[in-house]
Amino acid sequence: MHATKDPAKSITVALIGNPNTGKSTLFNSLAGVRQHVGNYPGATVEKKIGQFTIAGQPFDLVDLPGTYSLAPRSPDEMVTVDALLGRLAEEPAPDVVVCVLDASRLQQNLYLFSQVLELGRPTVLVLNKMDLAEAQGTSVDVAGLSSRLGVPVVAMQAHRKLGLETLRQTIQQAVEQPARAGESPFPEVFRREVADLQAALKPAAAESLPRYLIERLLLDSGGWLEQAGLPGVDNGAMQQVRQARARLAEAGYPVPAVEAMARYDWAARTLDGLVKTSETPSRSGSDRLDGILMHRFWGSLIFALLMTLVFQAIFIGAEPLMEGIEDGIGWLGQRLDYVLPEGVLRSLLQDGVLAGVGAVLVFLPQILILFVFIAVLEDCGYMARAAYLMDRLMSRIGLSGKSFIPLLSSFACAIPGIMAARVIEDRRDRLTTMLIAPLMTCGARLPVYTLLIAAFIPAHRVLGGWIGLQGLTLLAMYVLGLLVAVLAAFVLKRTLLRGETPPFLMELPSYQWPSPATVVRRVSENGWSFLRGAGTLIFTVSVLVWAAAYFPRDPAVEAEVRSGYAPQIEALQQRAVELAEGGEDGDSAARVELEQERAELKATISRHVAGAYMEHSYLARAGRVIEPAVEPLGWDWRIGCAVIASFPAREVVVSTLGVIYHLGEGQDERSESLRDTLRGATWPGTDRRVFNIPVALSLMVFYALCAQCAATLAIMRHETGTWRWPLLTFTYMTVLAYAGAWLTYHIGMQF
């Protein structure tokens, strides 16, 4: 994907701006298809880099996350500031910073720009959405603004690619300009305190802190930055900072309020006489649309219909695609039967590698479909309205309206749900949402529920015949997941993810037609991100579980099973001999019957061989090791074993139960024989049944609450950049699942 370029000669351009300024559209227009996504170490921020050339000169374009302010309060926000200041290891400082402003909200957007100016990098101001500003009756004197700021200003309509060529030329010229320390908008007394602090910190620090970070340190009375490990910032330094804050408060410039005062004053001074606004802004089409879409009743109804459509599309629309993938993988596996002899290699390729690839690919349809909807809804501006509508509900459990769509999507599959949680800016809300998303009843739990409900829950009708008991049980599992999720969110927000809730203030962007290019790019980015981030891990786990179920593969196991069938084989052979002795005119019907019996016996033996191998596998040993732990739940070692095997994906429990109960491979939840076998299974050496209703319910409750899904944990690792959160999720969900299953079993046994 990379063009051959001399990295020493490549020029780095950073792109920054408020959300909803059209920054991403601009990034895509400049970089085209020459872009890739990475991660900043230790942060959940995606690093988007695009490449373009102007007159043979290569440029690297770094897209920084949209933000209203460069005031770091979390590692993610710090990454943006560090990237702009060139403080990241192995990342060059940007040669040019392009700051995108929405012309229709110029004064507000100048807040961020005044921070960018202070970084002292060569800067280009892009005045985007000029058409929207004009439609709202605002006109801007672009040349006047440029000369007053001393910075090149480019007026643009990025979605129409108007002004793109001018921007390219301006960027190229800006590189030549010397970097100058931006003028500070702060009052004199504040600037003096900053200069004093800088002088005081200098000897202690190996690298001297840029002025901007000293300002931030002084302004950050919330206390995040002092713990961020800045060089030279120790207790002594913080003592001086606190003294400086006290002096500033005394002088009538309390931190952090002084920043908003200073920057907005500066913005007002800068725009004075350059911006004309017509007195009566007309009620726009956007407002009329909001009258319906944000209406308490009609808006909610439209949202509910829309979500039904999204949900149906993920749940049902993805089904044929997922089946297609599974069929394709299955077909490839069958081909291997002809190509390879039976043995470890064939088994590895069929049940390890192909199953692993299938386990990864099978999630793609749901991810892609969900992100088509999300990208369209986001790009047209509806997403913020949806968050508004759902905020009243979600704020009751301590989250905001932005958590609704990720959680709803998790009812189809937690993986796209967790990926969709990226839109939540607040870190605590985002983590809480990701941590409770796997409790939503996803599609992979359905096979487990279907099998167990059909096998053990009587098809009675209750409540006057209106509702079937089986359906009610399924509903109960959905409700259980939801209730526990609400409780988990409640607890998480009060313990691990405790902290002051920032005020919820969200911009509602103007409606616009979604751009197909943006949608396609968003969707493909998310698809790749999943394959890259979680695919390898899901694959690895699948292969490992295959190995555990396959090895040690002692041939004596097979020989023993076969010797157990020796009398039957002998009897069949005897009858064959008798038939042959009967002469040429022997009964052909008897011959056919004999052949059938022979085939049936062969199939029975091979099922028993597969079952016996499974019983002697490492997986079974693990199942026996954990048997004392699962016995209180009413399970035997075989159920324990199937639960372990389902770690790559929950639905695997069904096919594992099939093998372990000697039904051979390829059993699914609709299989009658699997149901019958489960009903008839007994504890070894007794005629006590393994399964009864309490055991089935306990297994269902376990699956409702457990995190037996490697893919979910892998994507969580990818999205948070650390193993901490997936491990926590696995632990808390497994504990809950165990406790829930135990309670269910013991309460159930009372009846």
Partner: protein
């Protein structure tokens, strides 16, 4: 024109369509600073578009969705009271 603190009412008391100027944001200064970064600050002119919680405000060509949180009070001076 006399402006006293008595003119100030909580933001949530505005009715849809009513214009006002933000008179004070009372509470944790760090929280207030976050609001200021998005433009919700002392002196800003707003119009209540939709009441309730969360409410929708119009402010300088943009619309904002705002939920009242405990420990932070936005006090406004309704346009009629100026």
């Amino acid at each position: 024109m006399k402006k006293t603190v008595h003119d100030l009412i909580p933001l949530r008391c505005l009715t849809p369509g009513q214009m006002a100027q933000i008179g004070a944001i009372v509470g944790d200064p760090n929280q207030a600073h976050r609001l200021a970064e998005l433009g919700l600050r002392h002196g800003a002119e707003i119009e209540m578009v939709r009441g309730g919680s969360p409410c929708v405000l119009r402010m300088g060509g943009q619309q904002l969705c705002f939920r009242h949180t405990a420990g932070l009070d936005v006090l406004v001076r309704p346009a009629g009271a100026l």
